[in-house]
């Protein structure tokens, strides 16, 4: 899922301080899982904002809502009748949700309340790591199920580089060397042959480098 982390409260306050009616809108999807933008986080942020403005002696209404998802118009539509009461929204959904909210309610000021970070998975409660870079051409079949585009700091495809030590990446002792992981997995699977053949240059045009992407499934279109 998409992992995000809460923005510093000071930054959010800076953007909304001149408004009088704010809606804090959460999302019960990915950001709820990484405890950055779900209903719980909506309540905590709203409480913090109320306290801040009370101290500033500024009268302000802070509403709270959390939608099933903010990346589907059907769910955003649920706000249709109540959003008029507000003059700004702090959306603590991921970047896609914030944009959809802003697009659907285009007259409304919509501010992001989280920094969207990566596609990843839950290692353990409270720890999430990046696993996928959405490069558009998945090569996991040849790397034992471990992605070098996401897990190698240099996204090299003929790794490792010469900088790893003790199985950790040169940039950070906490980051495992992606290629060491791949090597060990291929060894475990008896697929070291894959390791020996040079992998030619990747086609990055299916990745972000090719421009904003679009997926159409015709059979699903009405």
């Amino acid at each position: 899922m998409i992992m995000a982390k809460p923005k510093p409260t000071e930054e959010i306050i800076r953007e909304i301080k001149d408004f009088d009616n704010i809606l804090v809108a959460g999302c019960n999807g990915c950001v709820a899982v990484c405890e950055a933008g779900g209903l719980k986080e909506v309540e905590i942020l709203a409480s913090a904002l109320r306290m801040y403005f009370a101290n500033q002696q500024k009268k302000i209404e802070i509403g709270e809502v959390s939608l099933t998802r903010q990346c589907d118009k059907e769910y955003l539509a649920e706000l249709k009748d109540r959003i008029g009461a507000y003059d700004a929204v702090v959306s603590i959904a991921c970047g896609a949700g914030v944009q959809f909210m802003a697009e659907m309610y285009s007259k409304m000021r919509v501010f992001p309340g989280v920094d969207t970070c990566f596609i990843g998975a839950t290692e353990e409660k409270g720890v999430w790591t990046e696993r996928c870079q959405a490069c558009g051409t998945c090569i996991l079949a040849s790397t034992g199920g471990i992605c070098p585009v996401a897990r190698c700091s240099k996204r090299i495809l003929n790794g490792p580089c010469g900088g790893s030590s003790n199985g950790k990446c040169e940039i950070d002792k906490e980051v495992p060397c992606g290629w060491q992981l791949i090597y060990e997995r291929l060894k475990e699977l008896g697929e070291l042959k894959r390791f020996e053949e040079p992998t030619p240059a990747k086609d990055w045009s299916t990745s972000r480098d090719g421009g904003p992407r679009r997926l159409i499934k015709e059979v699903s279109q009405i």
Binding site: K154, R155, N158, S164
Partner: protein, 310 residues
């Protein structure tokens, strides 16, 4: 083995001599004469001079520009290229530029992550990795084609090199990795600087066992230790570096004003010892910010004067 490019390094190796290469770090300014001075210092004592490419992701005068200056002084450069800062378009473009100035050696590297440099906030490129760059240079030279398939009227003729670090882990894949680079087209290898002689010899043994030493020329990396501080720093802070305690102890065992000289002694002894090591075809003497010692090291190691080849 006869040479296929105009590279002097290739000719020297083909003739069966030990090759001697060294390195020049360009300045952090537009002052070209710094490069000239370093080149003049080491030039007569080596076959070719490497120019680093924004080493440790620190902005320096470009390797290509520095190589051109070196070439114009009458010495032969090795263009080091990392894939960190330029995509395949930029890299191929620079290779054409290098060819236009008669530069015939390229060392293909991935490059240190920009986190180590003075612009850690930069976006990195890594469109290609070092192995893919090797494949690209070979395709340009042997097929006359760019990666896109476009046919060049005059392709650059490059003698292709790569780096290897026998001391990075895991040790068992260091040989596999080298094999992969050779399969991609690497013709010479410059290794990371050696202090752990036993480990290096073990690596060489495995290379010889696979017959790789006949497909690629291995140049052993030698860097003299200038001070105990430098030894400690390299041991602790430089990724992929293996400095055994014995080396530090040896430096500690001499009076403070003799430490630098002892560092040179160690370097010379290493070269003498490695001349006997099967598969070693030459030496890459990296005297970082100590280029003035290269002549002494090369002379004392019995590698001066450099042989002349056509």
């Amino acid at each position: 083995m006869s040479a296929t490019t105009p590279s002097k390094l290739e000719s020297i190796l083909a003739a069966g001599h030990f090759a001697v290469t060294s390195e020049c770090g360009p300045p952090r300014s537009a002052e070209g004469t710094v490069v000239d001075e370093k080149a003049r210092l080491v030039g007569p004592y080596v076959d070719v001079i490497n120019v680093t490419d924004n080493q440790t992701a620190v902005v320096r005068m470009s390797s290509l520009a520095s190589c051109i200056r070196i070439k114009q002084l009458g010495f032969e450069p090795v263009l080091q290229m990392t894939t960190r800062d330029r995509n395949r378009i930029g890299l191929q473009s620079d290779l054409l530029g290098a060819g236009a100035f008669g530069i015939n050696n390229v060392l293909c590297l991935t490059g240190d992550h920009q986190r180590f440099g003075d612009h850690p906030n930069a976006a990195n490129v890594f469109d290609l990795d070092s192995t893919q760059l090797i494949q690209t240079v070979r395709q340009m030279r042997d097929e006359g084609k760019l990666l896109s398939g476009y046919e060049m009227t005059v392709p650059p003729k490059m003698f292709i090199g790569a780096a290897e670090n026998p001391f990075a882990d895991p040790f068992e894949i260091r040989v596999l990795r080298l094999a992969k680079k050779v399969a991609a087209g690497a013709q010479f290898i410059q290794t990371q600087c050696i202090y752990n002689m036993e480990k290096f010899k073990l690596w060489m043994q495995q290379i010889v066992e696979r017959g790789l030493h006949e497909k690629v020329s291995i140049l052993a990396g030698i860097t003299p230790m200038k001070s105990i501080g430098m030894a400690r720093y390299m041991k602790a802070k430089v990724p992929g570096m293996d400095v055994p305690d014995e080396v530090i102890k040896r430096l500690q065992g001499v009076p403070k004003d003799k430490v630098a000289a002892e560092g040179i002694n160690i370097a010379v002894e290493q070269i003498q010892e490695l001349k006997e090591c099967p598969g070693v075809r030459g030496f890459h003497v990296m005297a970082i910010e100590w280029e003035e010692k290269v002549p002494e090291i090369v002379e004392r190691a019995g590698l001066y004067p450099r042989p002349k080849v056509d």
